[in-house]
Symmetry: C2
Subunit: 219 residues, 2 copies
Amino acid sequence: MPTIPVVKDILSANDQVALENRNLFDSQGILALNLMASPGAGKTSAILSTCALLPDTIRPGVIEGDLASSIDADTISGEGIPVVQINTGGGCHLDAPMIKAGLSSLPMEDINLLFVENVGNLVCPANFKLGTDLNVVVASVPEGHDKPYKYPGMFAAADVVLLNKADMIEVFEFDVDYFQRGVDMVNDSANLFVISCKSGDGLQVWVEWLAERWHNVVG
Amino acid sequence: MPTIPVVKDILSANDQVALENRNLFDSQGILALNLMASPGAGKTSAILSTCALLPDTIRPGVIEGDLASSIDADTISGEGIPVVQINTGGGCHLDAPMIKAGLSSLPMEDINLLFVENVGNLVCPANFKLGTDLNVVVASVPEGHDKPYKYPGMFAAADVVLLNKADMIEVFEFDVDYFQRGVDMVNDSANLFVISCKSGDGLQVWVEWLAERWHNVVG
């Protein structure tokens, strides 16, 4: 009787391409972030605010994911940051082949930090690997402090949680401790940064953390 | 040569169950609404604020859809409104069979207006018929005025758009005209109501519209 080979760790088509993307990032010295959030939580604002505080040695680039339009990519391009827009045409998340296609349109030799702005959706994007190094979930105060309890899959997937629009904490009676406990319930290693892209509060601490991470991986 | 029958209007499994749901609503005299929105836009608040203003002849019930938790159902039940919670266990939208299952747990003879609160997601829920009469999209000011341009599929599917958290229009520099033009671009028949569940502004006009619609269909 012939021996039937047992192949372990078979990768799905998406995960295979994600691994290729990751190898490309590693070989070119790029730290890549996958930003995920509800619509309107402030992913684009977080990217712009972060870029404004980066040291000169860190040179960012952006892949923008949206169902339609190039509104965010236009904003980012206006700030002189290399950007490519991916329109999913109705698709509710980015996938690894889309990232691979997007990379071919970016000046990779000029970039050592890549932001991938996923489609605004607190469910589906968490299920698809892109090959990025860090999952960054952007939550925002007006959405309410119960989101980690209602969307546990997204918060479980986070390496970093940026709680944005912190200038609205009192107005929306947002309970940061309750939010933090919700994150802790599904994720014992996520780093939480409370920020306001409008007032600038908390951004310096987050960017210092990111720059240190960049130095450890790339620098 | 035998005649090959051409069957038109073949319904998918989901749409077949949606039709059954719709027939049940019609036969029992129930107007059913499918509320869709981003996470935290205020679907539950909109349901509670609407119920508080309904005339006594209109008796509401609620099906709550969430990936996890029963936070919203607990709130609604606390107000004495019949409610059933559906946890999708990670699924990004409700579907017609879930509604059918939920209906079996509601006191149907006591209800003539059904709110279905879909999973918070501005993409996927628009693609699945539930058998409800009206699609109500709840948008909220803090999400930003560009949402109809970025999520055209959801706004194209709307019969009603409730723009919630209107008390925050100035704080977030929200351009209502730009938002309205975005809705008009993809949908020439949606009714827009600008409301604040916090201040109560605009709710009376919306509830009067809904009550008139209810009278035309059920009353």
